[in-house]
Amino acid sequence: MSDIVAFNSVAEEAAPKAQAQRVLAGPRGAKPRRALSGRNIMIYGTLVVVALYYLLPLYVMVMTSLKGMPEIRLGNIFAPPVEITFEPWVKAWASACTGLNCDGLSRGFWNSVRITVPSTLVSIAIASVNGYALANWRFKGAELFFTILIVGAFIPYQVMIYPIVIVLREMGIYGTLTGLIIVHTIFGMPILTLLFRNYFAGLPEELFKAARVDGAGFWTIYFKIMLPMSLPIFVVAMILQVTGIWNDFLFGVVFTRPEYYPMTVQLNNIVNSVQGVKEYNVNMAATILTGAVPLFVYFVSGRLFVRGIAAGAVKG
């Protein structure tokens, strides 16, 4: 496991270094290749085709969501809309139906916000303190619990879902947002604790020792020294959690009542509902709306996202 994280830092460092080398090598490097060699055409050709393949679904989504239903029935899905309409977007947001409720995806969106924000904050707060205790204040047995936690990250969620349902029911919070937030905190803990532990362990130990000599305690060192020094890792954790929790489906459907369903669950219910005429344009608009938040995070965060998901991929 530590390998995976070590490996992230390789991913982080290797790329800029290679670039730096290229810049430094400048004119002294190998002789410049012709831009249009057969080899280059092949490489760029393949990459462009691949890139088009990856972009195609996004393109089709956007195009479909901007067409009216008559045009969808007649035309082909790759054609741009003849007549652009934003009607499907409005409908998806404000009046698409799931079962008896016809207030659109906006409810799911706000539910997801109310789930994602506290879950992210709570899980990061707990995991960062945990990681800090593991890295700097080792006590007997700590490693054992940590090992169980990490091994637990590989256990399929299905195995642990029902016992959690029982625990939450006993506590009287099964079906509520609080319950779901606790669940997200629990399942975010292995990867986040690992992330923070490895990060804090990588900070120079002298700092910690100096603070100890000056009489600083557990919390003082955490808030005054560790926290200000580790903002990047907090951002990585935040990206990881926001996208992960926003995209969650299983926990949402298991641990909440319909009025609290997160956006992904509501989206699935809208699109895959069997009643009524299928409105593909509304469905696609709804799909884009649901994907918009993680996509936004992705495009804004760039390299940090890569680091976050490389760590988060362990979570599966």
């Binding site: 991913a11 490489i43 593991l134 399929p156 195995v159 642990m160 604790t193 760039g302």
Partner: protein, 302 residues
């Protein structure tokens, strides 16, 4: 905190480092109560005949016998096997080839990577719904090709029970290969330039260098990637729910969906527990050898 009781000696041993212990309470609770306790609980109850509510009436391996007699479970396992094998092979091969292409000191590397990785930011639900639309025989790719003049063209994986799992595979690969590419690219970047120079001096063709020199050197990266993909495969659920809801019929059922349906819809908890225990065993078969190789064996790393 069972681990500390035996550590006597000085009287204030317990209070030493108290803050760290308090801070670790959530971790300890999660590890012991939820992960360890929950898993044991589920395994134990998989030997009972729990229906609507969990009950401790043991029936031996009854649930497992019923499980392996159920056509739906067999279809699920078969689907998972097909999906797993192909998604492992394809994502490793595609991911590696893309990474190798990206490693040719190309321009616009960042643009290409951004494009290949963005699907990974999307949820399985979104992925599944987009591909459901693209593979829709009435309006999607099939209808477009037909309208171009090829009237008999058939491409309707989601509506054909024999190949529906491949339709899901297409969506999964679209979503996941970008990540594999990124992991592989990081591995390639970690390889010393000098290896390439030596290979070039010796006149070894590039593809040979990749297969016989570079790939063996990237063993660690491959294994890590393999474990990441494999543990994701076992959990596949949302994608199937969004794309086909298990249909047509039961043709695209997967174990994770079987578990959910029996626990929360069919009110047959025992079956759900037995099925989820089988999932646990599958994961253990993947993880244990890896953990042994990685962390056992005298801690030598490649």
């Amino acid at each position: 905190m069972a681990g500390h009781t035996q550590s006597s000696g000085r009287p204030n041993q317990w209070l030493r480092n108290l803050n760290a212990k308090i801070a670790s309470v959530p971790m300890i609770l999660t590890a012991v109560v939820i992960f360890l306790g929950g898993t044991i609980w589920t395994v134990v109850y998989s030997f009972t005949n729990s229906k609507l509510l969990p009950r401790l009436t043991f029936v031996g391996f009854d649930q497992y016998e019923r499980l392996w007699d159920a056509p739906r479970w067999l279809v699920s396992v078969q689907n998972l096997a097909i999906y797993g094998i192909f998604s492992l092979i394809f994502s490793l091969v595609i991911g590696f080839v893309l990474a190798a292409l990206m490693d040719q000191k190309i321009r616009f590397e960042n643009t290409f990577r951004t494009i290949m990785l963005y699907p990974f930011a999307l949820s399985f639900i979104v992925t599944g719904l987009v591909w459901q639309w693209l593979l829709n025989p009435e309006f999607g790719i099939q209808s477009v090709v037909r309208s171009l003049g090829w009237e008999t063209f058939t491409f309707d994986p989601l509506y054909n029970a024999d190949i529906v799992i491949y339709g899901i595979l297409i969506a999964a690969l679209w979503q996941g290969t970008g990540l594999v590419m990124c992991l592989m690219l990081a591995g390639l970047r970690g390889i010393d330039e000098d290896i390439w120079k030596a290979a070039r001096v010796d006149g070894i063709p590039m593809w040979k260098t990749y297969i016989f020199v570079i790939i063996p050197m990237m063993r660690g990266v491959f294994i890590t990637t393999l474990v990441i993909i494999a543990s994701g495969i076992v959990k596949v659920y949302d994608l199937v729910v969004a794309q086909t809801s298990g249909g047509p019929g039961i043709a695209s059922e997967v174990p994770a969906k079987y578990v959910y349906d029996y626990m929360f819809q069919a009110q047959n908890l025992g079956q759900g527990f037995a099925a989820s225990t089988m999932m646990l065993i599958t994961v253990a078969i993947i993880i244990v050898p890896w953990a042994y190789l990685e962390f056992g064996g005298g801690r030598k790393r490649v």
